[in-house]
């Protein structure tokens, strides 16, 4: 078990359901989207071929990759945890598409915290410019004794 003198333990004690994770503004551009799909080896044209995405598929622009948006939910949790805990599970869905040029915001809040076991449940989101949640998620984390 953690000792009360550790800074991480003191921080855990102060966490309450409803605590907010910091918001983060995300402005992916086509270079970032290209890098992301290149590292996957994903050639789906809706992510890099603007004439194809708009004229053939009828999208308003280049489509931001769904799993990259999912990754930002993971980052929201990990940045909030810092060195104090580990992300142990996450579930999310891509509810609506978003497009290059949009500014997205990631964030979340604490749903529950067990001060004895160090287990936390967090609700996370990525919102679009209209404030609609395009990717809702639920994460589980565990406070570490590091």
């Amino acid at each position: 078990m953690m000792e009360q003198t550790q800074p991480g333990a003191a921080r855990l004690e102060s966490i309450r359901p409803g605590d907010a994770l910091p918001d983060r503004e995300l402005k992916p551009d086509n270079v970032q989207l290209f890098f992301y799909n290149a590292v996957l080896w994903n050639a789906h044209r809706i992510h890099f071929d603007a004439p194809y995405a708009t004229e053939v598929e009828g999208y308003p622009g280049l489509v931001i990759a769904g799993p990259m948006i999912g990754d930002w939910l993971n980052q929201a949790v990990e940045e909030w945890l810092g060195e104090d805990g580990d992300l142990i599970a996450i579930e999310y869905s891509n509810r609506a598409a978003s497009y290059i040029g949009e500014t997205l915001v990631s964030g979340g809040s604490v749903t529950s915290v067990d001060h004895a076991t160090g287990e936390l449940v967090l609700e996370v989101f990525v919102k679009n410019e209209a404030g609609e949640i395009i990717a809702p998620g639920v994460a589980r984390a565990r406070w570490s004794t590091r």
Binding site: A38, L40, E78, A89, I90
Partner: protein, 151 residues
Amino acid sequence: MSSLLSDELLSNIGRQTSPNRELVTRREIRKYAIATGNRQARYLRGDQAPPMFHVALFWDVVELDQLSPDGVSIDALLPKFPLEKAMAGGLHIEYLQPVYPGDWLTATRTLTDIYEKEGRSGPLIFYKVDMRIENDAGEAVILEETTRILR
């Protein structure tokens, strides 16, 4: 009774890919961390793989002539569904062990379920694919369940 899902289609439940073994490298971790806008030093340095790095590690490395005109490759695990328009998908990931450069990981994907629901504007087909990622000792490292919806 289901109207869209034939017994033949449902017989694909349980289908599995052959295991895919890949090496985790510092270079690939760094590229993934940079591309996703990660801000944590241990990932940007490539000392440890960030969450969801496995998505890149196990994306199919297809050849150019395996791509359809839209740039997508056919997923050999999936049967031909009577509905084809893909809607929102969901992911559930469990991170059981950290991943470091030098690790060899093996992923096996299984089609675990196909079912139908009535949506507001017609029938929907759901399917689930499990990906089990294990290390060379056979221990589970990451478990991922994908749910996709077709309309």
